[in-house]
Point group: C2
Chain length 352, copies 2
DNA sequence: CTGAAAGCGCTTACAG
DNA sequence: CTGAAAGCGCTTACAG
């Protein structure tokens, strides 16, 4: 005898209504019946079918997490945060790895349209337009993480990237640096753009002068290439500090600097952003701006679940604090090697 | 008018049977009706409800992936592999993060019992006994990854850890090393135990002598502590090579060696296992045994899906090849600093 | 405090 | 080639 609600009711000698209510607690069941029901469930080894429940209630208790690459530490940590609060509230999370691939993304959109999930946390980087993500999606509750989707009104949860850029600039200024090389990334990515903006504003305000570098592309290789390209300024001491808008690029920079025989931080200070795992493993360990990625995921999930609970309620996004982590890769500028020159290499006229 | 199959049928002027069959292709539908159905679906914006389908078919097209820590790069990469093949075959994956926590694990067991998933990929480290995992689980198809569960007959997918240990030993022997320090981990973890066994066997066969060290616990801190404990042997050259059964410990070892002013690989060679991201970022970059973790996930998912397709078929587990990655942290033993002494510090009598 | 029955939206055996 | 209807296993409005 399979363990369906019908059989439990039969064994307990009650209606399925009563079985359902002793489980849900949505209406009172006399102690005697409740006991009989529980015993019947026990002997049958009954666990209610999620599928049946889903159909009856029109929801799945599942949220989708769409990321471009779950193998990437950032998104893995994000997933951890999302899973933590979701599971704590009785939700499961389906992970949708788009791999930056449109067709895989569309597959997950179809899953959303099929109401396989009650809501979605959508991490930046996936290849959708606003129309697809909100229009094609049955008005399913949506929370954005890390980056905007053009034109979307969905709440956004992101780190205080602007503030992070500012912290980086102030740290370097405080060490006496005035000439910095900025390793940025394609401006399409708002995440990086905010970090640049925050840095440049604070840097200017503090009397520094930034050298922009469009290359870098968020990769270690990009960081290496950028350093190679600016070797001249570094050697002549007209750049005493390097700020990369992510740790990957900063680590690439460290690698190239070592290869070129430049000592960090003695000859040049290097900062990153993110505080990925490697940041503390490299030598010298990397001074960086830490973002609390799993908190990002937790907050996103909480907002989404609030949305699911309150229906129409309008919910605000939020920004998650960042933190300066000082390690070995930055030190006070050495007055002898630094002529405090004002260099503006690379990007012609990009400095506003 | 909501987009249900009933409304599509009404608009197209056919039965819901016909709507269902034009979608599934399980029986022929005349071109004319098929067209009318498709048009109706189009105008209504119809996507079939997954919940209804699940209930009717008694399956969910979802597999569960149970891991102890999705934030950990190993499991994140595993998830990537699992997701890739699952999504390629029309399955979604729910990620279950147990956090090494029994109660969270039990919550996911309950999800399995509720038939919220059709099968599960179970990565080592979660806190279950065999009885719980197979008995309490509705006979749901199960594939184990990375480690056995005591007494379970479920197929296991794991890296060739034994072979990996052997490769490490042979690499070091080939460089002339004969006295090694082995950074192992608690023997409960079969993963590490196989690596040790493979190493020790090949090492002995090649004329080497192993120094065991029970500490390490798979963490960088453990690796550091172990080095501190064996500083004497390293300084006097009676240990010329160190093999850690994972990269974390190897990186901890590198850190401590640097702190103590020992040059790697000049004074001592260091090897790890896994080839985690940091392995190539540290300096000197780490010679290690790479395991293809995302392939591990792919194979596990494929086996699980085969199990789901073929029902009763018995399926074998498999082992995934590993690869020696030579980087900067190992070099030929320096005959001057190496008296080829046979040291057996630490574990009294543990060397068989 | 309890039960009979409708309904959630599909799939499919049965009949034609 | 097509349709009417039962069934998947729950939840819940309605009635008592």
């Amino acid at each position: 005898m399979e363990a369906s609600i019908k059989n439990v009711a039969r064994v307990a000698g009650v209606s399925i209504t009563t079985v359902s209510h002793t489980l849900s607690g949505k209406r009172h069941v006399s102690a005697e019946l409740a006991t009989r029901v529980r015993e019947a469930m026990e002997t049958l080894g009954y666990t209610p079918s999620r599928s049946a429940r889903n159909l009856a209630l029109g929801k799945t208790q599942i949220i989708g997490l769409l990321v471009p690459d779950i193998g990437n530490a950032f998104f893995a940590e994000l997933a951890k945060g999302v899973e933590r609060v979701a599971s704590g509230r009785g939700y499961n999370v389906i992970i949708g790895n788009t791999g930056f691939d449109r067709s895989r993304g569309l597959m997950y959109l179809e899953m959303i349209r099929a109401r396989a999930v009650d809501g979605v946390v959508y991490a930046s980087g996936s290849p959708f337009t606003d129309i697809e993500i909100s229009g094609g999606t049955n008005n399913i509750p949506l929370v954005l993480v890390d980056g905007e989707v053009a034109g979307s009104h969905a709440p956004l949860v992101a780190s205080q990237n602007l503030e992070g850029g500012r912290l980086a600039a102030e740290h370097l200024l405080g060490l006496g640096h005035r000439s910095a090389l900025l390793l940025s990334a394609p401006s399409e990515l708002a995440t990086g753009a905010d970090r640049v903006t925050g840095f440049v504003e604070a840097w200017r305000a503090g009397g520094g002068r930034a050298v922009q570098n469009g290359q870098g592309g968020f990769t270690a290789e990009g960081g290496q290439a950028a350093i190679r390209h600016h070797m001249g300024e570094i050697l002549q001491g007209s750049v005493t500090a390097i700020f990369a808008v992510n740790d990957e690029m900063a680590i690439g920079a460290l690698r190239e600097l070592r290869a070129q025989g430049i000592s960090v931080p003695d000859q040049v200070s290097v900062m990153g952003f993110d505080d990925i795992r490697s940041a503390s493993d490299v030598h010298p360990s990397l001074t960086t701006i830490r973002q609390d990625v799993s908190l990002l995921g937790e907050r996103a999930a909480e907002i989404l679940l609030t949305l699911l609970a309150d229906g129409d309620e309008t919910v605000e996004g939020e920004s998650v604090p960042v933190e300066l982590i000082v390690r070995e890769s930055t030190s006070p500028v050495d007055p002898r090697t630094s002529p405090h020159a004002m260099v503006d290499a690379g990007q012609k006229g990009q400095g506003r």
